[in-house]
């Protein structure tokens, strides 16, 4: 393990220990937040008892649907836009300012339009994620150098073969970055909208527990979401690092 990695772990561990100390010393009172070891214990007991499995499952499925649809649509739109210079230039300002738009502001509208089901939540996750995928896909395609395209031609590759043997492998790290972003945004979108208004899901349960002063449920669920999101992200990051290291970019 590198020295850097040790320091990184030390920072996280130090922060948790600080929280633990502050809770135990009563600086943070019990009604605000239980000490981290209690949260961890509660999460363990909760999972052992199988509580909230349906809720967790429902939220994860929605995150997955939002992620997969945003990723697929984003890569396809990005690829098409790369070949449509004018359309791209028209849309550029939209992409540039997109993340200044509070997408959540549309949530009430979506509920009116689609009802208080999974649809609006998935849609929010999709909307947050899709533009990041489009931008990252375009970024990757922009970087395929003219000499690589010429090489494809002098190697006798047709359009499909060029995509498979040159463009796709060249863009692989960008596609992984896009996946990382899409997953993070899908989590934020789905859990966030459940939190605001929903009838089920982890976000809803966190919000419900919050209004009922049920710290033994709220904090373990927050921790669970945190762990799931970080785990998925680290997995993709690791893969991304392997690809980039090979290319001398990591």
């Amino acid at each position: 393990m590198s020295r850097l990695r040790l320091y990184q772990i030390a920072v996280v561990a130090g922060f948790i220990l600080l929280l633990e100390a502050l809770c135990l010393a009563g600086v943070i009172d019990k009604i605000t937040m239980p000490p981290p070891h209690i949260i961890l214990r509660d999460l363990f007991l909760m999972l052992l008892a199988g509580r909230y499995f349906d809720e967790i499952g429902k939220s994860l499925v929605n995150v997955l649907v939002a992620f997969a649809s945003a990723y697929l649509v984003g890569v396809i739109i990005g690829t098409i836009l790369h070949g449509q210079k004018t359309t791209r230039e028209i849309l550029d300002p939209l992409f540039a300012t997109y993340y200044a738009i509070p997408v959540f502001a549309f949530y009430p509208l979506f509920i009116v339009m689609f009802g208080l089901g999974d649809g609006p939540q998935v849609l929010i996750g999709f909307m947050l994620a899709v533009v990041a995928v489009i931008i990252t896909t375009l970024n990757g395609l922009d970087r395929v150098s003219p000499v690589l395209k010429k090489t494809a031609r002098v190697s006798g590759l047709n359009a499909l073969q060029t995509a498979r043997h040159i463009t796709l492998p060249f863009c692989a790290p960008y596609l992984l970055t896009a996946a990382k972003l899409a997953l993070a945004y899908a989590f934020i979108g789905v859990i966030g909208s459940e939190f605001i208004m929903a009838r089920s899901g982890v976000g809803y349960e966190i919000s419900y527990a919050y209004t009922n002063f049920d710290n033994a449920t709220m904090y373990p669920l927050i921790l669970l979401i945190l762990l799931l999101s970080i785990a998925a992200n680290s997995l993709l990051s690791r893969w991304e690092r392997v690809l980039l290291a090979r290319r001398g970019q990591a």
């Binding site: 000499v147 090489t151 002098v154 190697s155 043997h165 040159i166 090979r246 290319r247 001398g248």
Partner: protein
């Protein structure tokens, strides 16, 4: 009909005009050019920057079609398709960064129908020839610029092209590496028996390597001089010690100086 047998590439009245685009007037880049490249010779093209040297190479490679005129490779007209038997090495680094050296070189064989074992054998032989054996499993990012260019050359010659087009392949390399790569290219040229067509802006490089050198004018590029070096086939970079090396280089410079001044907007 000896001429017909020995000419591998023939250009007749070849002209290239890039059509007008938004806010851009049409550019008459090249021609008309008449040129014959003989089978097995080392042919070099020098010219002022922007004279259409690279366009000439792209025309012969079939990467772009001429506006007027005819180009033939081994008696067959070249349209805008890369003909079989032609290999190209570009100035820019064209290594596939996601493949290691062996995989990069084997990519050059993907059009051939030989079996896997034979492919591996041929790739290994070329990797040896280019002095890359110790780096066969390395990725391009781990190699120097000169090494990466060797990988690109290996990827091209592994397909055993009968005509190798080199577009300023050493332009991005330092002087020592250039000289050594020059030796390497001369050795490859002798060993493979292929015709080599080299685009370069370095006059000494052209004189050191080529049998015949054509000088191109400022845009629109036309051939204005053709120099025969008369070097023996067995030669290397030490040819620069020959007494007429300087005379040949200065003859090229005399022709080229006037043209270069034109491109800088000044009369010679």
């Amino acid at each position: 009909m000896i001429a017909a047998v020995t000419a591998q590439v023939t250009l007749r009245g070849v002209t290239k005009v890039f059509p007008a685009a938004a806010n851009v007037n049409p550019v008459h880049a090249l021609g008309p050019i008449d040129l014959e490249i003989r089978k097995g010779e080392f042919f070099a093209v020098v010219g002022p920057s922007g004279c259409g040297k690279s366009t000439l190479l792209e025309l012969i490679a079939g990467l772009t079609a001429p506006t007027a005129g005819k180009i033939e490779f081994e008696g067959h007209a070249i349209g805008d398709n890369v003909p079989d038997g032609v290999g190209v090495v570009f100035q820019e680094d064209a290594c596939f960064t996601w493949l290691n050296v062996i995989e990069n070189v084997e990519f050059g064989l993907r059009r051939t129908t030989i079996d896997k074992g034979e492919k591996a054998r041929r790739a290994a032989a070329v990797i040896d020839m280019m002095g890359l054996r110790d780096f066969a499993r390395s990725y391009p990012a781990q190699l120097s610029g000169g090494m990466r260019q060797r990988v690109c050359i290996a990827r091209t010659i592994v397909a055993q092209p009968r005509l190798i087009l080199l577009d300023e392949p050493f332009g991005a390399l330092d002087q020592q590496t250039r000289l050594l790569m020059g030796d390497e290219i001369l050795r490859l040229w002798r060993q493979t028996g292929a015709t080599v067509f080299l685009i370069t802006h370095a006059l000494d490089e052209a004189v050191m390597l080529a049998d015949r050198i054509v000088v191109m004018s400022a845009r629109p590029g036309k051939t204005i001089d053709l120099v025969e070096t008369g070097w023996p086939r067995e030669r290397d970079s030490r040819i620069v010690e020959r007494e007429n090396f300087g005379a040949l280089t200065s003859r090229l410079w005399k022709t080229l100086r006037k043209e270069s001044l034109k491109t800088m907007g000044r009369a010679g």
